[in-house]
């Protein structure tokens, strides 16, 4: 048993950390967020050159053949920099669905393009009514002459505004909430009948609603088996939740470090405020919340790496912890920064808003706690 990283993993982690340090100062980040596309294409090229876009993909497609630990290390560092470029949407969601379910033809066509930095992707799964249920799908795909015809609407599509290619979940059979009968289709964002409505979120990311009006998709663009898209989505979302938790951990580390530093320099009543026990104990609480989150992240990563049966349970637990610990950490960071914590100028509030967005992505803490309970208490398995 060991919790050490390989030399290769440490090099990867350090290369992302160095990039953030040299190229992603907070004011630079804010300029990128305010730009028209909300991301930097130059940065994306750099990500490709440094090999980060290749991490989870198999070597036969030009990938790095990395695992959950590698993804964790990259996402943790990206979190520290509040990085806006669509690593999650392109590499882990769009790329993840292709990697796990795409036909050899689709993989051969798109994975190398992702790795080269020439294909931005998105996964359109959310609908107005669906909240956190992946299986709640009203968008339809009905058979047509060349394949399938899509109608419906997807909302809050991460990277939806900039994506070149989109994978969309659509109902090919069954009722609104049935797990069976969901299929996934890959199509270009420029497909006729596909309308994009971009907008910005509180964490700076540019998302879009996608409206499908009789959009034609060839049968060859089906990702995974017909009607069996749910399990594929679930597997990819499970890994994405781990990655989001790693990003959250990086953010929590930053918030704790910045808050601690502030309490050592800010003086009131003639002393640094970190001198007061009431504040010290609050910072110990956030330190423990961070350590506990890290432990659960490691647990989930090990379970995913070893493909353990309880990986899903561990990831649900992790997402609950990220929600609870994240709220504690950012609330205390704002409180201990006093009035400054409320300013848009300071980075603290922006870290907080990214954590809030992570909490609501793929299910909040309550949602995952109820999923966790269903897996763990309704089966009679040992704790």
């Amino acid at each position: 048993m060991n919790f050490e990283f390989s030399e290769e993993q440490i090099m990867l982690r350090d290369s992302v950390a160095r990039f953030i340090q040299d190229n992603y100062a907070f004011d630079v980040r804010q300029d990128i967020a305010a730009s028209e596309q909300g991301i930097s294409r130059d940065n994306w090229k750099t990500f490709a050159e440094l090999g980060w876009l290749s991490i989870p993909f198999a070597e036969e497609h030009g990938g790095f053949g990395g695992g959950a630990v590698d993804v964790m290390l990259v996402m943790e560092q990206l979190g520290k920099g509040l990085v806006l470029e669509p690593y999650l949407a392109t590499v882990l969601l769009f790329g993840g669905l292709l990697r796990k379910g795409g036909s050899a033809e689709l993989q051969g066509e798109y994975i190398p393009r992702i790795i080269e930095g020439n294909c931005l992707g998105a996964f359109a799964y959310l609908e107005r009514q669906s909240r956190y249920e992946l299986a709640d799908v009203l968008t339809t795909a009905s058979p047509s002459a060349g394949g399938y015809r899509l109608n419906g609407e997807k909302v809050v599509v991460f990277n939806g505004a900039n994506a070149d290619q989109v994978i969309v979940s659509a109902r090919t059979s069954g009722g609104q909430n049935d797990e069976d009968g969901i299929s996934l289709f890959l199509l270009p964002a420029t497909a006729p009948g596909l309308e994009k409505l971009p907008y910005r979120m509180m964490d700076g990311q540019l998302v879009a609603n996608l409206v499908f009006r009789d959009v034609e998709v060839p049968a060859a663009n089906l990702v995974g088996e017909l009607d069996q898209g749910f399990a594929l989505m679930q597997a990819v979302v499970m890994e994405a939740n781990m990655a989001l938790a790693a990003e959250a951990l990086g953010i929590m580390e930053q918030l704790n470090a910045k808050t601690l530093e502030y309490t050592k320099t800010r003086k009131q009543f003639g002393v640094a405020i970190g001198h007061f026990q009431a504040l010290q104990h609050r910072m110990v609480d956030t330190f423990m919340a961070y350590e506990q989150t890290k432990s659960l992240l490691y647990r989930a990563v090990c379970a995913l790496t070893d493909e353990k049966e309880d990986a899903a349970t561990a990831v649900h637990a992790l997402k609950v912890m990220v929600d609870r610990a994240g709220k504690l950490v950012f609330s205390e960071a704002i409180q201990l920064h006093g009035g400054m914590g409320l300013t848009d100028e300071l980075d603290i509030g922006h870290f907080a808003k990214r954590l809030m967005m992570i909490n609501t992505t793929f299910g909040n803490g309550d949602y995952h706690q109820s999923q966790f309970s269903a897996l763990r208490y309704n089966t009679g398995a040992a704790l």
Partner: protein, 394 residues
């Protein structure tokens, strides 16, 4: 990063299971459950002797002194299996507290005199740290030891001394100097409980049990040879011990088992035709604890792995102590909710008319005595001060 078990680890786990099944037999379990103090004491000693015969009595000791040489994985496996089988951990005072101090700081003669009897459970130890006037502010202790040729004359009192009524020996922090900082005039003495002038006064706690005591020292004569290390340097040795103590207080494996028991009871409790376990409110409370415990299990593994690769338990042992004891209490609290009315039933009141709820009075006893966990070993508030200083640099 790798937490998977090798085939050798799995074989070891099977060996642990087989041993526990055979050695922790029904006859022993019945004696351990006895309300008769001497029967209980002898049962504990018998169990520890079986562990000693197997060579597993001191997993945390170095091999040269009788430890097992287990790596972090095996320590984890052993502790998990022990707890899952419902086996209480060894009495900590000799094996987990004074033992490590002896092999780290003791003289050759002291090691030879005391370590074998600790390993064989031939001598029962208790801990003389807290005093009526010194709780969390341990270094303010006042029990005095004055040198008289080759003996110290000890005067004062220790309190909250668990199982002093069973003990053959007590390890004590005593004041040998009032010069300088209060931490600097403290010495570490080993005192024979049969010495003239030692008096044990029982304290009955809110669980209606007698495990706590006050120990008085009235001009007790202690040979200088029973001092650990240098005079006035006892605080250094005590601090090393406290880190070990805090790590073992966390009790993650036992809390995990207790949470499983609470879940099983909740599955059998029926409220309005449905099991309590299926109640969403109950599931929320259970999973709150379950999730924190899953995290703490890995926090403990991280500490174990760090210690196994040459580190010493440091400030992170404070984190384990705080979270571990909070979770122990959370499980005890949930058990009380499951017990409902029967949490109020006093032991032995029901006699032969079994209500099926022995669980209730046991739950209450654990809950009431469990309040101690966030107080002893340095209160959790003191642990937070330690983390603030040692980790956060405040």
């Amino acid at each position: 990063m790798d937490t998977s078990f090798t085939p050798e680890d799995l074989a070891f786990r099977d060996e642990v299971r087989a041993f526990l099944k055979e050695a922790y037999d029904a006859e022993l379990q019945a004696r351990l459950a006895s309300g008769e103090p001497q029967v209980y004491k002898q049962a504990v000693i018998d169990w520890q002797k079986r562990l000693h015969a197997k060579g597993w009595i001191a997993p945390n000791w170095p091999v040269e002194y009788g430890g097992t040489g287990w790596d972090a994985t095996r320590q984890f496996i052993y502790d998990s299996e022990r707890a899952a089988f419902g086996v209480r951990d060894v009495v900590p005072f000799g094996l987990k507290m004074v033992g490590p101090v002896l092999y780290t700081f003791g003289t050759q003669a002291q090691k030879e005199r005391f370590l074998p009897a600790i390993l064989a459970s031939d001598e029962w130890w208790c801990q003389g740290y807290s005093e009526p006037g010194s709780g969390s502010d341990l270094a303010s202790l006042k029990t005095r030891a004055v040198l008289d040729r080759d003996e110290y004359v000890v005067t004062g009192a220790k309190i909250w001394t668990t199982y002093a009524q069973f003990a053959d020996w007590i390890f004590c922090l005593v004041r040998t100097s009032n010069e300088g900082k209060k931490q600097e005039g403290i010495s570490f003495l080993l005192i024979d409980m049969k010495s003239p002038g030692v008096k044990v006064n029982p304290i009955v706690s809110i669980d209606n049990h007698h495990s706590l005591n006050e120990v008085e020292f009235n001009d007790v004569r202690v040979p200088v040879a029973n001092r650990i290390g240098e005079q006035d340097k006892g605080w250094t040795y005590a601090k090393a011990l406290l880190a070990h103590e805090r790590t073992s207080i966390a009790g993650v494996a036992d809390t995990k088992r207790n949470l499983g028991l609470v879940r099983d009871y909740a599955a059998r409790e029926i409220n309005g035709g449905r099991s309590l376990l299926s109640d969403p409110m109950f599931q929320a409370r259970l999973s709150d604890i379950d999730i924190e415990l899953m995290a703490l299990e890995f926090t403990e593994l991280r500490v174990l792995a760090a210690v196994a690769s040459g580190g010493a338990p440091g400030a992170e042992s404070s984190l384990l102590k705080i979270k571990g004891t909070e979770l122990q209490q959370a499980v005890q609290s949930l058990a009380m909710e499951v017990a409902a009315y029967y949490q109020g039933v006093l032991p032995n009141e029901l006699g032969a008319q079994k209500l099926g709820h022995e669980f209730g009075s046991k739950a209450r006893q654990s809950y009431m005595y469990g309040r101690a966990a966030t107080i002893y070993g340095g209160s959790n508030e003191v642990q937070k001060n330690i983390i603030a200083k040692a980790v956060l640099g405040l």
